[in-house]
Amino acid sequence: MENGIYSVEKELNKAKRDISLSAFSILFSEIVQYCLYKSKKGYRLEDALHEIGLRVGYKLSEYLYYKNKMKRSITILNILTFISKHVWKYLFQHSSDLLKSQDSIYEYMICDKNILLNKYITVPKDYGNINCASFAAGIVEGFLCSSEFQAEVTAHTIYENEQNQNTTILVKFYPEVIEREKNH
């Protein structure tokens, strides 16, 4: 303790403990069921999951930069690379691919094959296109918005076959962000 200051450094730098897949799956399944319950009251399931993800992303944006001892990101490429590499490694133990859209200057894609969130979720046919990866989209959006890179982030999954699915997190930046990039 230096001069009486209670040092929070140790607390924040704790070695990462692994969490069992079962524990995570049960927690996520309960979250999805909670959002399903909310959807009966008029909220869309994906929106509810997305909103929960926002809070996670908001807090991660501070914590992960501190943990990785990295400086603030001031360019789009910088922050998206940080997300696809470090955030994905922290959450899912592997990094994801970052792509830029050919059609629009506002859009970027983060691609993750067989995203962990959807691993134990099967969507019945009558629920349509519900994608629980919107939780991850919410995390990315919370992360970006809190760092002043306002964007709309959505998740889209293509099911190649029974075993394989390909999830794309689509990041669509607000025009002000692109303008600001150009001016600097």
Binding site: E2, N3, G4, I5, Y6, V8, E9, E11, L12, R55, Y58, K59, S61, E62, Y63, Y65, Y66, K71, R72, S73, I74, N78, S146, S147, E148, R180, H184
Partner: protein, 128 residues
């Protein structure tokens, strides 16, 4: 992100002040505009002294989550290292507050440990 501060503290050694609280708030709010420009010019978090008014100066620090810490001080020529260390301690304590699941993002900070550590950091790095 509003301009309402989520935390304020008077870190002076001698509590008697020679400028009103309104004036200090005014000077600090003025400097926010400068901070908003500076944050996009460099990726450093510690922005050094960014503004001055009469014999008061404002030093700033911006976190990756764009939370800004502003310090208004009078006259003294602080060594950048001391200011930076002070801000870094505030930053660490802020992260701890943020990671509390019961803390609402952008909410007023009510943690007494945070307040205590900020005062102790001021004592260590600023009151010399």
């Amino acid at each position: 992100i509003s301009d309402v501060p989520i935390y304020e503290a008077d870190l002076s050694v001698v509590k008697k002040k020679d400028i009103s609280e309104h004036l200090s708030q005014f000077i600090l709010h003025q400097s926010l505009d400068t901070v908003d420009e500076l944050v996009w010019r460099s990726s450093h978090m510690y922005l050094k002294t960014i503004d001055s008014f009469n014999n008061y100066s404002v030093s700033a620090y911006c976190t990756p989550g764009h939370i800004k810490f502003l310090l208004l001080y009078k006259n003294k020529n602080y060594i950048n290292d001391n200011l930076r260390s002070f801000f870094e301690i505030v930053h660490e304590n802020y992260i701890r507050v943020l990671l509390n699941p019961l803390y609402e993002p952008n909410g007023i900070i009510i943690s007494s440990l945070f307040d205590q550590n900020v005062h102790l950091a001021a004592k260590k790095f600023l009151h010399q």
